[in-house]
């Protein structure tokens, strides 16, 4: 009895450690895995996975990963998985009995930690998909069946041949997100990667103050972190006052150039979204989803695409995305609510605090987007809607980053004409005096 208590306690300790590890410093990794999948509660989706080799573990893993939407719940899932893996390993090790369970109990306990710790280490490479956890559980379960439940030597012999086949069919062979690339110790708990994921998580959840605090603790030095910091400052009306306190990498810190890569594109999409440039935001969300290296769709992007289409008045496409999201566990409620909003018509959308504001910011005149004239586009946004304080801040700060003070002065005049009073404008006055 006492031994069982020790064994359960050991598994519980692992579970608890895993819980706090994934819920606190590693929550942004959970966010990353969750935002780049689209798990549908749909028979078609289930069957399409079963058709593929390894699709079973991918399906089960995606089912669990959807709970990462809330990192407190997601961490419980991982904790239970780790608990289960440890318990299975212990049971299997004890059943071998080669050492004499009672004589070498400490050794068995130590060995039982190996799969869990190795898995913990490997998951430090954020591109290892969590289907690997399911694959490990499948492997241990097969071993369990082989060693413990089959007593006949003949069946065990047959099982030895069948188990690898069953494993490959159920669990597949590849659990790395990026094709033609494999796990590397260089990627394990890579500081820069984790920093990017942290900022990505904070931008996604609109935690502007936390972004600023992170940047205060450590100067942002990556294009994405600079962009996120500027966006956070803009959203809290502090660009004029504080942006120069942080490292800036030129105008690219406001509008990073387009790359065929998901994270940077997603953050840039958020900038355009909050500026009210819906078509451009839509393009970036779409590209961010398409750039996912394992071809998975993204619930985060789909949600934003539904929103941008709704703000643009393209209700049928928005409905399509919302119907898809209504087949998910965590977005269903939001999707149904938003569908009702669309069904209520333009009036209801205009009343919405976010969508209504963004629709009013949306430009009526059309032209082709040019990232070389983005300051002018910000100017047009401001002239179209003088409540667009973010556009004002981006336009003015853009010229400061370009060191184009003549343009800055011109824009200051424009802003003074367009905006009767804006507290944030005062923070830019110091640059007029300076130059």
């Amino acid at each position: 009895m006492k031994k069982r208590v020790v064994e359960y306690s050991l598994s519980c300790i692992i579970g608890v450690l895993a819980y706090f590890f994934w819920a606190l410093p590693f929550r942004s990794v959970l966010n990353y895995h969750e935002e780049f999948q689209l798990f549908l509660l749909d028979s078609d989706y289930f069957l399409s996975h079963l058709k593929q080799m390894g699709g079973f573990s991918v399906y089960i893993s995606e089912f669990f990963v959807q709970f990462y939407n809330n990192y407190w719940i997601g961490s419980i899932v991982i904790a239970i998985e780790f608990f289960f893996i440890h318990q299975l390993t212990l049971t299997i090790l004890k059943s071998f009995n080669v050492f004499g369970v009672n004589n070498y109990r400490i050794l068995i306990y130590c060995l039982s930690l190996v799969p869990t710790l190795v898995l913990w280490l490997v998951l430090g490479d954020v591109n290892i998909m969590h289907s690997l956890i399911i694959a490990v559980i499948i492997a241990l379960l097969l071993l369990y069946v082989l060693v413990i439940t089959i007593h006949s030597a003949t069946y065990r012999f047959i099982g030895l041949f069948l188990a690898p086949i069953a494993y490959v069919w159920l669990a597949g062979t590849s659990h790395y997100r990026i094709p033609n690339s494999t796990f590397s110790f260089e990627h394990v708990y890579n500081h820069k990667t984790l920093q990017i994921l942290d900022y990505d998580f904070l931008v996604r959840t609109n935690r502007w103050q936390q972004i600023i605090e992170s940047s205060e603790q450590k100067q942002p030095d990556l294009p994405l972190t600079v962009c996120a910091t500027n966006l956070a400052l803009g959203m809290t009306n502090q660009i004029g006052r504080r942006a120069k306190e942080f490292y800036q990498n030129g105008t690219e810190g406001l509008f990073p150039p387009f790359t065929k890569e998901s994270f940077s594109t997603l953050t840039t999409a958020e900038v355009y979204f909050h500026l009210g440039l819906m078509n451009t935001a839509q393009r970036y969300y779409f590209e961010a989803m398409e750039a996912s290296p394992n071809y998975s769709k993204s619930c985060r992007c789909i949600r934003r695409l539904a929103e941008t289409n709704m703000i643009n008045g393209q209700y049928e496409v928005a409905r399509k995305y919302l119907h898809i999201l209504s087949k998910t566990l965590f977005y269903k409620k939001w999707a149904c609510r938003t569908l009702q909003l669309i069904n209520a018509g333009d009036w209801a959308i205009l009343q919405h605090p976010l969508y209504g504001r963004l629709r009013r910011m949306r430009l009526n005149e059309d032209f082709l987007f040019s990232d070389r004239e983005i300051d002018k586009i910000c100017g047009r946004l401001l002239m179209h809607n003088n409540e667009n304080v973010l556009a004002m801040q981006y336009m003015l700060f853009y010229t400061l980053l370009e060191n184009d003070y003549n343009k800055f002065i011109q824009y200051m005049h424009l802003v003074k004409n367009e905006m009767s009073y804006c507290q944030e404008l005062a923070s830019f006055e110091k640059y007029v005096q300076k130059h």
């Binding site: 549908l40 509660l41 749909d42 028979s43 078609d44 989706y45 289930f46 089912f63 094709p179 033609n180 387009f258 065929k260 440039l277 819906m278 078509n279 451009t280 839509q282 393009r283 779409f286 590209e287 989803m289 398409e290 750039a291 996912s292 071809y295 769709k297 643009n312 008045g313 393209q314 049928e316 496409v317 409905r319 399509k320 119907h323 898809i324 087949k327 566990l329 569908l339 949306r362 430009l363 009526n364 005149e365 059309d366 032209f367 082709l368 987007f369 586009i377």
Partner: protein, 492 residues
């Protein structure tokens, strides 16, 4: 835990439940059933896969429907469940027994606690055969510059079976496009591979050849292809294509060519034939297609503009030039067949019917990349009289774009964004000898609502194929990665 239990219950119900209730106390309503896809009064060919459909109420699938399909000549089918779903053999037999007649469809649906019977509707069975095996098309997300999983696929028309011809999942970063067969003949096909291992693939009677993607002498790569009916030549355009992105217009993307010319390639000699009339400096020649007798080359042409500033002035006319297939030479004058510019429009994707009577094209306000133009509509030109008209029978409010003819020229397939304005779907319609079309029908799927609602792909560049395309994709992937390419040469 509660959430998990709910989920398990949901999946179990989803997998094993179906409606087996029979209608009783039926209330009649004077309207056609709200079904997806809209199959009311469509015309279909013999041999087409069952026209399964869902009854939709408030955007959701009605989980309990009872449908009776009666042939005007003979036969009857009954379906009861979460959608109108028919056995393939029973459906084919019913349709075959009613050629020239129609199927009367009676729909009852269990909506808000009561059975409702709608007005019957008809599905007409065409006398025109569609004797091609299936369709080929590209499936890709309707994106901008980045693409995830995509490929060229073929679909059997008599069933729901789809097969990949080539997908990009085996060669990372690869894109495939512009697959074209010679009059639906799967033994003569061409497509392009874009990306690090770019090439133009030509497969003739099972023998594959990978042409170098970029050729300095033509100033770019081969783009839009069209086979000469003899199979001895393949015409291509070569385009310096750019994209622009609208800031607020609902048409999201603008495609324009900094320049484009037309060339003809001889697969036997690997020679490229140029002609000064098809490579003018101030005009952009594009979308070449041969006439069915092979003696003319149709193409579109527009006066080169300054892009992106004047992209709205990029307007194309339909022209033709004589072609001598014996020596691969061109005539010395270009004729204008349809002056779209004169009516303030732009013409694109000319496709002559294989019987030589008509020519399909798409008309838009400007440019040629009609998929991103909501105003795009299908037109038909009578080649004998030179008269053209919009095919109102098939056009919609959204982009109706790329099209192709069946091998007997009695059916067309085209893409349309009518469902939601973004995701292109495939529609089929019959066209009679006089150029009159019937109401088009959406390519059938086993569970259409679930399929089309879930898919995040567009179907584009569809074409018919007489037989299943035989393409050894495993070897092809190796060949793509090998980068062994045949160099083309310009005929002096």
């Amino acid at each position: 835990m509660k959430v998990c239990l709910k989920y398990i219950l949901f999946v179990t119900v989803l997998l094993f439940s179906s409606c087996h209730n029979k209608p009783d106390n039926v209330t009649r309503v004077d309207q056609f059933p709200p079904i997806f896809p809209d199959y009311v009064d469509v015309t279909i060919p013999v041999g087409i896969a069952p026209l399964n459909f869902n009854v939709v109420s408030n955007g959701d699938n009605v989980p309990c429907v009872d449908v009776i399909v009666k042939g005007s000549i003979a036969g009857e089918l009954h379906s009861n469940g979460s959608l109108a779903q028919f056995d393939i053999d029973d459906w084919q037999s019913l349709v075959a027994s009613n050629i020239g007649g129609h199927l009367a469809v009676t729909v009852c649906a269990y909506v808000e606690g009561k059975w409702i019977q709608y007005n019957d509707f008809s599905i007409n069975i065409s006398e025109h055969l569609l004797d091609d095996w299936g369709l080929t098309y590209r499936r890709i997300a309707p994106g901008y510059e980045v693409y995830s999983k995509m490929g060229i696929y073929q679909r059997e028309l008599s069933s729901f079976d789809e097969f990949a011809i080539i997908e990009n999942s085996n060669v990372y970063g690869m894109c495939v496009n512009c697959h074209t067969s010679n009059r639906a003949n799967p033994n003569q096909i061409v497509f392009h591979v874009r990306g690090d291992h770019g090439a133009t693939m030509i497969q003739l009677d099972g023998k594959r050849e990978w042409l170098k993607a970029l050729n300095d002498s033509i100033g770019g790569s081969m783009v839009y292809p069209y086979w000469h009916p003899s199979g001895r030549y393949c015409a291509f355009s070569t385009n310096q294509t750019r994209q622009g992105f609208h800031v607020s217009d609902l048409n999201r993307i603008e495609v324009f060519d900094m320049s484009s010319d037309i060339l003809v390639y001889n697969p036997t000699t690997h020679e490229i034939v140029w002609d000064s009339l098809l490579t003018t400096k101030d005009w952009s020649e594009n979308c070449p297609v041969f006439s069915p007798d092979g003696k003319k080359l149709y193409f579109i042409t527009c006066c080169q503009q300054s892009y992106p500033m004047h992209y709205k002035d990029e307007k194309y006319n339909l022209c033709s030039i004589d072609f001598n297939p014996d020596d691969g030479t061109f005539g010395d004058k270009v004729d204008t067949l349809f002056n779209a510019v004169a009516i303030g429009k732009s013409l694109t994707w000319p496709k002559p019917s294989y019987d030589g009577k008509h020519l399909l094209f798409t008309l838009i306000d400007y440019g040629y990349f009609s998929i991103w133009h909501r105003e795009a509509e299908q037109w038909i030109l009578d080649i004998q009289t030179g008269k053209a008209r919009p095919i109102d029978e098939i056009n919609s409010n959204e982009s109706d774009s790329f099209h192709n003819w069946s091998s007997n020229s009695r059916w067309i397939v085209f893409t349309s964004r009518r469902a939601n304005g973004l995701y292109s779907q495939l529609f089929l319609a019959s066209i009679d000898e006089n150029g009159q079309a019937t109401k088009p029908f959406l390519l059938p799927q086993k569970n259409p609502l679930e399929y089309y609602e879930n898919t995040l792909f567009s179907f584009n560049t569809p074409d018919f194929t007489k037989k299943r395309v035989s393409f050894d994709s495993k070897t092809a992937y190796k060949e793509i990665l090998s980068d062994n390419r045949t160099q083309t040469k310009v005929r002096e």
